[in-house]
Subunit: 283 residues, 2 copies
């Protein structure tokens, strides 16, 4: 009995070997930070999960069911990380999805990893370029070999993280974090993720919080050469929030520390979806 | 007890939910045709499996162990399809592979699918373009969402299969078959698979058999416009062997039927690796 895994609402350590998540990566996932038993930024995670399931034509499991899984897994744990996977379930003839499919949800509790409290990141470029696939870009799907290769390279290089470009040379993200850049005028810029990359819930929450705070924010196709006026960069994900990028491709960014602190503060605000009515609804 | 699945050498219906094949598609697979209990073209499948595992830095399971799995699964079945998956196994911190990893092998017996005896194919172009990723091209890895999307589209269109181009416009394959084209001079041409696509064992076996039979064969980057002199096309995979392509993007190919019969005959020859010493070694 695996007390830290629930599959379709039941504690279980194993899943059927014919699951399409295994066979083809035919599914999506989210990684949530849990504090005091509550998922941080649930509203945005739920929105992204619905979006991503719809993009693959997978029926989204019920919100109440997933929240019940999280409550059950974190009843005796105050803090940690929760991974929610939704696969298309079992079966089908080869690549062809079964009709109708019976999606499977797998919810797993983990302890906080070391990178939850990351030091400032000095980011060099990964040798792995992200393939351009507009039909899958933005989706947090289970086809993640590029990230596995890039993380292995980090390990080999002895670095905490690297930044990744797509095969057209545009800056997309780090191996596990979205990126924001801040120029000398205080304008925030984040990579457009319509050809490659993953739209993280924390990226969306930070973007919204910055806009609400009156900061100019936009997304764009960004080449390295466009960062000539860059004063700061932050990297973010749901596990660790906002982290300062001290150096980007060898260039020191003097304001990253201050901007990361500011971003982290914004992400902690009630308006950033941490303690909203939606969370109370499921208590 | 699942009599048709073996995981690491034991009959099992389920696998640990923390398998990296599920989490990231972190693994590879092969699909083999079994006749009279024997895998067709084993030598080439084994060669490709070793190659693909090495490309992802996954230790290849032992050949004798996999052959024993196949024998056990097909002891009471004479014919069918066998899927062999090798994942990096459980664990690791997020995308980062565990060191050392304990790869997991999953071997599954299936009945022959309908497309094992396919009618001639009239192939139109899929709306899904294959992303260009040189680091993963050719490998039969578990990141197969593009093929899932393309197969779903076939179902929606009511067609048996479609051909797929990469995002640079080069012809790569069908959703589940490699392609060969034959021109008016009897020269065979197959798409280069260094940026996208899967190198199938049957493609390799057919290529070798054609060369041994003295036919000119080469691989190249192929655009649709290069097929102006094309007289025949065949599509092949390990389940169904060689199938005639009656039409390619609306163009009738008069010699496909004859060339498919010839290709199928070559694939049945002992020299094509069906009944070689390697197979006997494991009887």
């Amino acid at each position: 009995m695996a007390e830290h895994i629930r599959i379709d609402g039941r504690h279980a350590a194993e899943l059927p070997a014919d699951d399409r998540g295994l066979a083809y990566g035919d599914g999506v996932f989210r990684t949530l930070r849990i504090e005091s038993g509550q998922p941080i930024g649930w509203d945005e995670h739920w929105r992204r999960l619905q979006h991503d399931c719809a993009a693959l034509d997978i029926a989204t499991p019920g919100e109440a069911e997933i929240r019940a899984d999280i409550r059950a897994l974190f009843a005796t744990r105050s803090d940690g990380v929760c991974k929610v996977m939704v696969t298309r379930g079992s079966g089908g003839r080869g690549y062809m999805p079964p009709v109708p499919a019976a999606p499977r949800r797998i919810v797993v509790a983990h302890a906080l990893p070391a990178h939850a409290n990351a030091e400032p990141l000095a980011l060099a470029r990964s040798s792995i370029e992200l393939a351009v696939q507009p039909r899958l870009a933005g989706i947090k799907h289970l086809n993640r070999l590029e990230q596995v290769l890039a993380r292995s390279e980090c390990d080999a290089r002895g670095v905490a993280d690297t930044w990744m470009a797509d095969s057209q040379g545009f800056i997309i993200a780090t191996t596990m974090r979205n990126l924001f850049f801040v120029d000398a005028n205080g304008c925030w810029l984040t990579p457009r993720l319509t050809r490659a990359g993953i739209i993280g819930a924390t990226r969306q929450r930070l973007w919204r919080a910055l806009a609400q705070a009156g900061r100019p924010v936009r997304e764009n196709d960004i080449r390295l050469s466009a960062l000539i006026d860059c004063r700061a960069a932050i990297a973010c994900n749901s596990v660790g929030g906002a982290v300062a990028v001290s150096h980007f491709e060898g260039r020191a960014l003097p304001d990253s520390h201050a901007q990361a602190q500011y971003a982290q503060q914004l992400l902690r605000q009630p308006s950033a979806g941490n303690t909203g009515s939606d969370d109370r609804k499921y208590r």
